[in-house]
Structure formats: C-alpha cells, structure tokens
Amino acid sequence: MSAVFKFENWRGAEPEPPSAEKVHKALIQLERIVKTYDAGDNEVQALRGVDLRIDRGEFAAIIGPSGSGKSTLMHILGCLDSPTEGRYWLDGEDVAALSGGALARIRNQKLGFVFQTFNLLPRATNLKNVELPLLYAGIDSDERRARALEALDRVGLKERAKHRPNQLSGGQRQRVAIARALVNKPSLILADEPTGNLDQKTGNDIIRLFEEVAEGGQTIVIVTHDPAIAARTQRRIKIVDGLVVSGEMED
C-alpha cells in the first residue's frame, strides 16, 4: 500500500489517506469517487467526485431522484462495481482497486444485501436461501443451518424455514431476504428500495424491522426515493447529478 501512496504523493494532487483513528470510527470512507460509463461516443459521468463517510452503527438513507447516481453509488458501496477514480475504504480496507474474486469475498464477509425484488432462489427452501452466503464462505453445514435458523428467528420466520419463497407473502419474502443479509454478521447492510414492491403497511413493518436491527448496532444504508421512509432513518444523504448535496458529515 505504501508504494501506492508514494506514487500518489509524487503526483502531488491527491488527498492524504485518512488517519487511522478516522478509519477506525468510519465504516465507509469515500474520497473523490468518480464513475464513468462508456456509452458509445460520449462518456456518462454517473458519479462526479463523491466524498462520503458513514460511521459504524449509523442508520442512513441515500435519497435522490432517478438518474441522480444513487444506484451507481449503491453498487460501489456494495462492492458490486468498482469506481473509475477515487478511493473507498470499507471497514479499514481499501477496496477501490479490487476486482472479481476479491470483491466477491468482501461482499461475502462484510456486506448484506436486501433488494427491491427480494431475489430469493425460487427452488430453494427459505432455510437454504438464508444459508447461501455461508455456503460460499465455506462454513460447514451444521453451523450454516444453526446460524440460518437463528437469523430466520430474528425476522420471526423460523417456522417457515422448510417452505419455499413462493409459499410466502411479499413481506415475508423480504423478511427472509433480511435474514439472509444478517446471517453472515455483515459490517454493512445495504437495502435497495426494500419496500418498493410492498404495500404501505407491509412496507412499514419491514422498516420497523430495519429499525430494530439498527438499534442492535448494525450499520444500515437504505437507498430509496420515498421521503416517508427516508424520514425514519437517522441521516439522509441526498444525491443530485452525481454529487452528494446534503447529509455530509461534518468533521
């Protein structure tokens, strides 16, 4: 890593890396994140230099109109994509330059995802769905099962472990997905419009579940365009035109 810093210093224009103390407190530290998509002749800048810090235990929302770059930001936060430029420290680890298998390992160990469309495997039981991250972590089947049951218990669906997702209501499916996000004890849970496919009441229940989980000290970031949901979080990070316009943390 030091070799990289020397190179950056020689260029002279890049910021100093964050201090050890700052990194420790911060779970996420983004610096000058730029993401450019190559769309034929013209390049599209989805993110135009995002600086963002999210500390451990925060329950935050990323809001913004569609096309603002919030999905792109979520993909980068979720290590599903790499930034074109900039630095990203997640849990003290520099992940901006990682790719492929290494990013998969980070997702597996530090992240939990909750999607708008749940993305459960239809042919697997709920238990197997929740076990999935542990399977790829190489954890043996007894422990996988125990931890998956524990996670299902936390979302109140232990009795439905042997059912398949299509035997559940939408809200229950999202609970299974949350159990799957919790099972590997991630540093960060990222939820992308988690109530987008649910009616208002069910959506409320899901947000309540997130609140409970957040109270347990879990860091959660919800990406949403719904101001009512954003209002329930502790902090709202607003993105417009590929830049964070409000909700930045003051140092």
Partner: protein, 409 residues
C-alpha cells in the same frame, strides 16, 4: 462442501425438469449406449472365438489345403504336381522342426449301407494323428491305429450322428457296415462334440457327422499308389505358438520344394485369430466413432440447454454473486451440474446399451457380455462430455456481471 451442495442442486434440477433433462440427454444416452454395446459385443466375440478354438484343436493347429494356381507353367515339376499327396505329409513329418504332428486327410463321398439303409455319405481317410490334432477322441472302442494303416485294415470309426443314423440306439462297435460294397468293421464311436456361440446351434455339428477309415485303406480302394495318393487337406500342429510364422514358412518351404509351384495354401489359426482381432478392432473403432459422434451431438445439446437455462437463471446467478460467490465458485457449481446431468445420462445409456446389446446379440446370434470395465468406460465418456461441453456455459456464468444480472427481469 460446495460440491455436495452443487450435487444436491443438480439432482434437484434433474428432478424438477425431468422431461427436459431426458430430452437433453438423448444424445448422451445413445452415445453411452453404443459404447456399451460395442465393448460388450467385442469382448464377448473375442472370448467366444478363443473358446471355439480351444475345443476344436487349439490355436496351434495349421491347415494346409489345395489351391488352383491358375498359372500356366512350363516347369516340369510344376506340371507334374497333382496337389497335396501322402508324400508331402511324410516329408513334413520327417523335416518339420517347428511342427510335431501332421495329419493328412483324404475325403470322398461313398455309399454306406447297413441293413436296409443306404446313403451317400462323406468318408475321411485319416491317420492316428487326426484325433489328438483335433482334440477329438473316441468315446467307445478305439480310433484308427498305426497297425490299421500298415495292414490297410477295413475298419471304420463313426461320429455320433452317423452311429445314430445307421444303428439307432444299438451299439455299433463290433458290427460290420458296407462302404462302397466292401464290409468294414466298426471299431469305435467318437465323442459328441458341442460348441455354441448363441446357445442354440451346435457350431461343431459337422464333426459328429464324420466317419473315419485308415488313409491307406482309402487310397488302396481308390486304386492310387500310397506315395502319390492325393489328399484333400492336412492338419499340422506347431510346437510353439510364438513361432507360428516360422512354422508356416517351414511348411511352405517343404511344400514348394515338393511341388515346384504354389498349388497349396497354409493357414495358421494364430494368424487367423490375429486377423480377426484386427478386423474386430476396425469394427470396434467404427462403433466407437458412432458412439463418440453421438456423445458430441449430446454434448452440444447439453451446452445449448445449459445456455438456455442459463438465461432463465441469470437472476439466480446474480443473486449468488451478490451474496459473495466468487467467479470460481460459480464456474465450479455450473460445471458440476453439467457433469452430473451427463453422468445421469451415462447411467441411462448403460441401460440403453444393455438393451441394444441384447437386440444385436439376438439378431446376429453373437454373444455379448457387459463387464464392469465396459460400464466404467461408458460413464467416463459421458462424464467427459459433460465436462467439455459444460465448460463454456460455466465460463459465461462465472463472468456474468452481478449488477446486470440482477437488473434482468
């Protein structure tokens, strides 16, 4: 651990889409089936011909027969040659270093009469060597002896079919039978020979139809002087199967010196066997190529269906990647599935092969044996097909971008 999960997933996949899977596996089933059929027929064929040789004189037997040269010659010796003679047999026995037995045979159709029954039947004039060289022995009485030859005795030994034909259930030994008008004493009856390739027809039934008199007696009756007496064919026995080429060369050398022209032919059973084997190999290769082509087609079908189901499963793969499956893990999982599906096809193929084999075996009356080795071969080929053709879909799945995969509807 992951492999176990992948196998469980694969089995569930086969179960959930049984119809599609069977369709997908048609090529593999046919391919594995023809491999099973090829191997089992060829293994059984080889074993059967070895057994046949073992009961009828062994692979050390050499056959020497007459042959028309078709050539016009001015060589005096060649012009004088009347084909194989008793003198040739004597010369071979005297000079042959590679052979230890020579059995000249003169064959002719004669009129046989006993009581009211009269039939035209083949009679063989033989020497005592005939019995050991053919692994064919008397069951009752005795065979032709040297003394019979020296005394040109009018004695006859019957095969079981002839004994039954003329004597029914009576014991022929000690009775006198008329051959071309002269009385012959029946001194023995041969054992009954039986060998079947198909458990139905006796491939050695012609041996039971023979009847034997001393070679000298036959020549005398035909009015030919013994030394120039013409013979129909000879058997010789080589001392060492490994030196079968030398034995044949030696016989040909002696005969050419005797005849001055190549009006004879010499075949060793060892050479026959080798020729059969190489011919068999050709059939094997042909069948194998058919099997491999079926497997290739089957593999392409597997690849196609894997790619089609891949589109169906893009979201699933995306989800797996989002929760942290590495490209290598996805690749491994997809490949395991293809291999598993084709092993399943291989197993069905073995049953198909058993069915083919029985069919071919019944139609062509060839024996067939399915050995564990044959089954292993079929399974290995099937699994290999899955491995090769599962590679491309697995690579595609492993390279899938999770963001795009999750975005697909």
């Amino acid at each position: 651990m992951l492999i176990l999960e992948a196998i469980i997933d694969g089995i569930r996949d086969i179960k959930d889409h049984l119809g599609r899977t069977l369709l997908q596996l048609f090529g593999i089933i046919l391919g594995a089936g023809s491999i099973v059929a090829t191997f089992s027929l060829s293994v059984a064929g080889k074993e059967a011909s070895m057994k046949f040789y073992r009961v009828s004189g062994g692979i050390e037997r050499i056959w020497i027969g007459n042959k028309e040269t078709g050539k016009i010659t001015l060589d005096a010796k060649a012009l004088a040659s009347k084909g194989l003679t008793y003198a040739d047999a004597v010369a071979l026995r005297a000079e042959g270093k590679e052979i230890d037995l020579v059995s000249p045979v003169s064959q002719d159709q004669m009129t046989i009469r006993y009581g009211a029954k009269e039939k035209a039947r083949d009679v063989m004039g033989v020497t005592p060597a005939y019995s050991p060289i053919s692994f064919f022995h008397v069951q009752r009485g005795r065979f032709i002896t040297d003394l019979d030859l020296q005394s040109t005795a009018r004695v006859v030994v019957l095969g079981t079919t002839r004994a039954e034909e003329f004597f029914g259930s009576d014991d022929p030994v000690g009775k006198t039978i008329s051959i071309n008008g002269a009385g012959y004493l029946v001194v023995g009856v041969m054992e009954e020979k039986y060998f079947s390739f198909d458990q139905k027809r006796n491939a050695l039934r012609w041996m039971n139809r023979n009847m034997y008199i001393p070679l000298t007696t036959m020549m005398t009756r035909k009015g030919e002087p013994l030394e120039q007496g013409r013979i129909s064919f000879m058997h010789a026995r080589m001392k060492d199967v490994k030196r079968h080429k030398e034995a044949v060369q030696e016989i040909e050398r002696v005969l050419f010196r005797q005849h001055g022209t190549k009006d004879y032919q010499v075949f060793s059973r060892v050479a026959n066997l080798q020729r059969n084997e190489s011919e068999g190999k050709m059939y094997d290769v042909t069948f194998m190529i058919c099997g491999i082509i079926s497997l290739l087609v089957g593999g392409i079908v597997i690849m196609n269906i894997q790619l089609a189901s891949f589109n169906e499963r893009v979201r699933e793969i995306g989800t797996r990647k989002a929760v942290g499956a590495t490209p290598a893990q996805i690749f491994f999982q997809m490949l395991t599935e293809s291999v598993l599906v084709s092993i399943f096809g291989g197993i069905l193929g073995i049953f198909a092969g058993k069915f083919f084999t029985q069919g071919i075996s019944m139609l062509t009356e060839n024996p067939a044996i399915i050995t564990p080795g044959v089954i292993m071969n079929a399974l290995i080929f099937a699994a290999g097909t899955g491995l090769v053709f599962g590679m491309y879909p697995a690579i595609r799945a492993s390279r899938l971008n999770p963001i795009e995969a999750l975005r697909t509807e």
